[in-house]
């Protein structure tokens, strides 16, 4: 795949955001807020960082991505479609009966989906398993996991954190889409997990903190992360929920509620 410039990646991010708005609007359901916050992370992965082949989704040496925050499926589907895994026209079937684009990712139904997620807290463990298989097979692929600040509430996240560090799991790079909200309210008002970076450091993960919408910073940080041996890596990406659409930014009403037809048109105008 030819290397895209930062400007071209930004255009991809705009395109993915347009899909997210249209898909959730057409489905009249879904999770636009947390999809928009994860957009740059997915764009950086699928259009620059990851070694993958949409024509051969089962290629054994491919890099893997586990979307642990499975409700951000619109962002994942849009990225997979634009990367060439399937026709972007299929995106309009999101959440419809019989569609491979299930409400939450289903690995059996859609090529490119590495793990079925939607029950929060599970993705990191699955990623560890993939990274251990890499070690046993002496391959060089990387496993990426996208988790979220809300997901830090889950006990399994911390089981996985402890175990990965103890077993010195590397080639495992997790992104924490820290968009400051979960379903009911701001994360700090539900079960405040701060200090977040200190927790990961205490669990012996190499920890980075970045602006999760700055593509250049994402690329640069992952290049650093790939060189780290004998230790898992987490990149805490500070993001804005609903990023890119003025009336959705920082507005938790759009956690799990789709935009109306009118709102879709307004958003698309902003994303031209």
């Amino acid at each position: 795949m030819e290397k895209l410039s930062i400007e071209q990646l930004k255009q991809k991010a705009r395109l993915i955001r347009r899909h997210i708005v249209e898909m959730t609007g057409a489905a009249a359901s879904g999770h636009p807020g947390g999809s928009l916050s994860a957009t740059e992370i997915l764009v950086a992965l699928y259009f620059d960082l990851m070694n993958h082949n949409p024509q051969d989704p089962q290629w054994p040496d491919r890099d893997r991505l586990v979307l642990s925050k499975g409700h951000a499926s619109p962002a994942l589907y849009a990225a997979l479609a634009e990367a060439g895994y399937f026709d972007p026209k299929t995106l309009k079937d999101f959440r419809k009966l019989g569609s491979p684009l299930q409400g939450h990712p289903d690995r059996r139904k859609l090529p490119g989906v590495e793990a079925s997620t939607g029950s929060l807290g599970q993705g990191l463990s699955i990623g560890i398993g993939m990274a251990l298989a890499r070690r046993l097979d002496q391959k060089n692929y990387y496993t990426y996991v996208i988790t979220s600040d809300g997901e830090l509430n889950e006990g399994q996240t911390w089981e996985a954190a402890a175990m990965a560090a103890h077993h010195k799991v590397d080639h495992l790079i997790a992104f924490l889409d820290d968009n400051k909200f979960q379903l009911d309210d701001a994360t700090e008002n539900i079960c405040d997990m701060r200090p977040v970076a200190d927790k990961w450091k205490a669990f012996r993960w190499r920890t980075f903190e970045i602006d999760g919408h700055d593509l250049k910073e994402i690329l640069k940080t992952v290049e650093k992360a790939k060189k780290i041996k004998g230790q898992p890596v987490i990149i805490i990406a500070h993001t804005v929920k609903g990023k890119g659409v003025s009336f959705m930014e920082g507005n938790n009403a759009f956690h799990g509620v789709a935009p109306t037809e009118e709102q879709v048109q307004k958003a698309l105008k902003e994303l031209e």
Partner: protein
């Protein structure tokens, strides 16, 4: 029926695992700090690079196994049935069953024959939980020989499998070398008046019960239904048609176990008189295994009593 003890089914599991691991390098074994008890440690001693002890954390254990399986490994994971099945259940549901991944699960110390450790360590609901997951094969062997053979079968089967093993030494039922197939029950006795279908320790109790019934002129079939799912419905139907009376004996909570599965099937295909020997919707307690089987109604005299009740004698 002479009672001669062989190894515990968990020992058979550990030994079989070492053999399977020696032949197939894609086998990876993990445990949650109970490997000395589940006997997966036998594999760990031999294949250190393919053995991971994750610590006391069942949810992550299951998730990591799913990740390994998605990359072509054959993970065998074990812990006590009570902890593994309940604490790993959402992960079995989502990451394994729904994901259709080839993960092998062995819950040891199943049932109340755990004994002195008491109710918190006793899994009496594992069969109900695991059979409820689409695509999972669920196995409960009765002795050393069948456990060993069925571990080999579960390794060959492509798809998720759960096996319950037991803590105490198990009475010998089979001759060494007997072959078993997943989903194929074994007729140990052929009778004409009643069919007793059992698994685990209840297989021996059922054979003993059949002897006592014979003394009273009642001829009983005894079936070892080691696979609860998929159920050997052909064999059940054949028996129900011939004897017209079916008794199910299991070391499991009466809700959702082998008895429920057979009753559901027979209600559709061949309604007949049925009886159930199982744990009657209660938790057990500390005690010796044999004392507990007696107190909670799972020994052969209880089977005899239930059989006679169904037969109206």
């Amino acid at each position: 029926m002479e009672k001669k003890f062989g190894k515990a089914t968990r020992d058979a599991y550990g030994e079989a695992l070492v053999e399977i691991g020696g032949k197939d390098p894609s086998v990876v074994v993990m445990d949650a700090d109970l490997s000395k008890s589940t006997k997966s440690a036998l594999f760990g001693e031999k294949f250190r690079d393919r053995f991971f002890n994750v610590g006391i954390q069942e949810a992550n254990l299951v998730g990591v196994a799913a990740g390994l399986a998605s990359c072509g490994k054959i993970p065998f994971i074990s812990s006590f049935a009570s902890f593994l099945v309940s604490k790993g259940f959402d992960q079995f549901r989502m990451a394994v069953a729904f994901s259709e991944l080839n993960v092998k699960v062995v819950g040891s110390h199943g049932g109340i024959t755990v004994g002195e450790d008491g109710a918190s360590q006793m899994s009496i609901e594992d069969i109900a939980l695991m059979t409820s997951l689409p695509g999972f094969v669920v196995i409960l062997p009765c002795d050393e020989v069948s456990a060993r053979a069925l571990v080999f079968e579960m390794a060959k089967h492509v798809g998720p499998v759960y096996m319950r093993t037991g803590r105490p030494k198990a009475p010998v039922i089979y001759k060494s070398g007997t072959e078993f197939k997943i989903g194929k029950g074994v007729r140990l006795r052929e009778g004409k008046d009643i069919t007793i279908i059992a698994n685990g320790f209840e297989v021996f109790e059922s054979l003993e019960a059949a002897d006592r019934l014979a003394d009273e002129g009642i001829s009983a079939s005894v079936i070892d239904m080691h696979t609860v799912k998929p159920l050997d419905t052909d064999l059940i139907l054949e028996e129900a048609r011939r004897t017209g009376h079916v008794l199910v004996a299991e070391e499991h909570q009466i809700w959702g176990g082998l008895g429920s599965a057979i009753a559901t099937f027979l209600a559709k295909k061949h309604p007949c008189k049925m009886g159930f020997v199982a744990i009657q919707d209660t938790f057990a307690e500390s005690g010796k295994a044999e004392e507990l089987l007696e107190k909670y109604g799972l020994t052969s005299p209880h089977i005899v009593k239930t059989a006679k009740k169904i037969l109206g004698r």
